[in-house]
Symmetry: C2
């Protein structure tokens, strides 16, 4: 299909992660290349709503867009930080955010948690494709590992005894919430575009 | 594919319209059959966001859902009533809402307007498909016709000299914003489900 899509994010880590998940028919470019630094009012109640708000903020550009919204849900904190994952203690480094989370979980035996990601594709014809990806796991008792970003150093995915911060991109590219969401999204995209191409072919041969 | 989907709406006119657009492989049932009278907090800024909020409000049911959000955009009123189409003068009959709109356009030569519809499908696997449909037209100088619902009696679609209220369902089922959106959505659905079926087939024959 050979498609160029712009990714609505100001987070370079995400650009790298998502690029590594795309096959070579898909070129993922940060939208900041077109419009400079971005600001999006993420006021949705869910990851899906926020990801949709991100692409709709730039729909006036009339080009194919992708965005994601993701976060960590901790059962013992009733799903917190959830959609507030990035805004919680806004402006503070993640080392402090993670320390605060570990503090809130002090003495808590139920460490069950999951990372969720909603990934949305917007096509200028007005078609939106969206998917969700989840990875189940638990919250570690201390910050471990230097790889990844965000809350990666306190999240231990089920089936492993190390955090995403220790496991790094090689494992994340297979089992992470973002990997699962974007792989599903890209396979929907291939389906969608193969159909559009077929339609065009039918029309031109009529 | 033989799919049953529940439509998130409290509006019986919409149930009828959307049912008439589905082919016989698709059974459209109002969600009120399952959960009684519904209330959704439509606080999105766009039709797409509101339609997504509608399906997400009932995602806990774990069943395939569809919803739409639609409205009238009038150029001379800077797109008003837009996403406020149903909430504007809430509780008042549409005859009064339409009279108010005609009053606001009194003496205005630019009658250009369009109906827009965002239609969203939600699958319990976390896949969301969404499309938009638009019909361009103009605002009549008086309320005309008894068919349809909402603002139909003041909207004259381009290429016609009668309102949707006069033209009725036969024309609406071909050119209306809702017809265009749902036909696109249902064809995406067929594509999506034919692929799911193929995947299942592949897996079971592995």
């Amino acid at each position: 299909m050979n498609l160029k899509i712009h990714l609505v994010t100001g987070n370079n880590h995400k650009v790298e992660e998502i690029r590594s998940l795309a096959d070579n028919e898909l070129t993922v470019v940060p939208i900041s290349d077109l419009v400079g630094e971005i600001e999006v009012d993420e006021k949705g109640d869910t990851f899906l709503q926020n990801a949709l708000i991100k692409v709709e903020t730039f729909r006036h550009l009339g080009i194919p867009l992708v965005a994601d919204d993701s976060g960590l849900e901790i059962d013992a904190l009733n799903g917190f930080p959830g959609v507030q994952s990035s805004r919680f203690m806004e402006g503070r480094p993640y080392s402090e955010k993670m320390a605060e989370i570990l503090q809130r979980l002090d003495g808590e035996k139920n460490r069950k948690a999951r990372f969720k990601c909603a990934a949305v594709f917007y096509h200028p014809s007005g078609v939106v494709l969206a998917v969700e990806g989840t990875v189940e796991g638990s919250i570690a008792y201390e910050i471990r590992g230097e790889q990844g970003f965000g809350y990666d150093p306190i999240f231990v995915p089920d089936g492993y005894d190390r955090t995403f911060g220790e496991l790094g991109q090689e494992v994340k590219s297979i089992i992470s919430h973002r990997a699962r969401a974007f792989k599903k999204l890209f396979s929907l995209l291939r389906l969608f575009f193969s159909n559009i191409d077929t339609e065009k072919h039918h029309k031109s041969s009529e």
